[in-house]
Assembly symmetry: C2
Homo-oligomer: 223 residues x 2
DNA sequence: CAGCCATCTGGACTACAGTCCGCTTATGTC
DNA sequence: GACATAAGCGGACTGTAGTCCAGATGGCTG
């Protein structure tokens, strides 16, 4: 679920632009008070996360800061992971659009500068690391606040499909279980993993190591 | 911490046999009542986890079933993750010993049948998957019950060191950041990841995909 | 055996995530 | 403008992880 909340007018839209057309039916209008509360919550959450850390802010505190009841907060965002996801929504969407429509090597580029799938995959890993490391606290909360959250949110499905498609393309007809291998490629991009490893080795080494693994995989797959 | 509790007589012993000698000082004797309670808790926990699932058993329930107070439970095992770790202790230790001292290709073998580091690494991944998939509920609890738990427990350090050593050996003097890459290799072995991917693709595909990634990495590293 | 004290005990207590449901209010209709 | 009704609201409530500390107890020492 990468839409900014669970019940707003955009609810039901798939997270990825390439799926935008699927469910255009009946965008139910959002009531004025609902809209007011929604933005109040998001602003309050951003404020609190900024001043104390993401870890140290309770849902009660957010509700109080926003001046709404707890029930409202939870009905709107489902749980803590959903709230984090909503806050990340814009950044995430932007990255997804660059991947789908942007310039090479991250995006498909133009006909005359089409990048290789391998280049696109490496570019994806770098861009994703930029995104995740910049907002690590939030991403981590969105992935771990409830068990299994990472694999349920729509964004993960998007990354997974993207990686699987590129792997299949790179293998060029080889018998490769692209779906399953894509999960393995995404595993070291989990926020929990990044958090632990970055604090041990620093961002640069983590970036380099992740790229090494992906690059060697691509080399073997293309052969 | 792979010892079976936090305060018992073995506390302070490092988890891996190759570190056993480091801290032999003052194994404080465990009081009889403490020992009784410790095994009561472990038995109660095993019983409850077996009958309901690991997810659906609260610490209160375990304390009640064991006939001890909550304070005792938490002082002994730290938190839910620690309790799970204690329950896994024996199995984990056994695997660690096979790795350090057992027959090839998982262990170092004898002088005349010494396996290659690549073979040992593949054997490790297979053996670890056997272990983790067999006890997935418990392993998952031990890794996720508290945030960052996976990377704090001694067992992870052991697996990491083992993988890093094998990678370094396999690269045969190449300039390889074995420590950082070892983390990336271990990422798809996280219980949370296994849980999600196995329920999507099944054990066989997950095993195959993980081995594919490791194998391609080894091929590139050795070259 | 008596006394001392470190260790251990257990349940009351806090804080937090998440649920529930009776009440309020915005909005479309006549 | 009044009404009907669906949508939304919020705070009381529940269940759980984890903390704390006053008192009990086991095990050493003389």
């Amino acid at each position: 679920m990468s839409a900014s909340d669970l019940t707003g007018p955009q609810s039901g839209y798939a997270s990825a632009p390439d799926e935008l057309l699927i469910l255009r039916t009946s965008p139910p209008k959002e009531r004025a008070d609902a809209a007011r509360n929604r933005s109040a919550v998001l602003e309050a959450a951003a404020r609190l996360f900024g001043s104390r850390g993401v870890e140290d802010v309770s849902m009660d505190a957010i509700a109080a800061e926003a001046g709404v009841g707890k029930g409202t907060l939870f009905r709107r965002f489902g749980d803590k992971a959903g709230l984090a996801t909503a806050l990340l929504d814009e950044r995430e969407r932007e990255l997804q659009e660059r991947i789908l429509f942007g310039p090479a090597p991250l995006g498909p580029g133009q006909i005359d500068d089409a990048p290789s799938p391998g280049d696109r995959l490496r570019a994806f890993v770098e861009a994703y690391l930029d995104y995740a490391l910049e907002h690590l606290g939030l991403v981590r909360m969105s992935e771990t606040a409830s068990p299994g959250a990472r694999y349920r949110i729509g964004a993960y499905r998007f990354w997974h499909r993207h990686v699987a498609l590129l792997l299949a393309e790179a293998s060029n007809g080889g018998t490769l279980d692209a779906d399953a291998i894509a999960h393995a490629v995404l595993a070291p991009l989990a926020a929990e993993h990044l958090h632990a490893v970055v604090s041990e080795h620093g961002e640069d080494r983590v970036r380099a190591a992740t790229l090494t693994v992906v690059t060697t995989l691509l080399a073997a797959v293309a052969a």
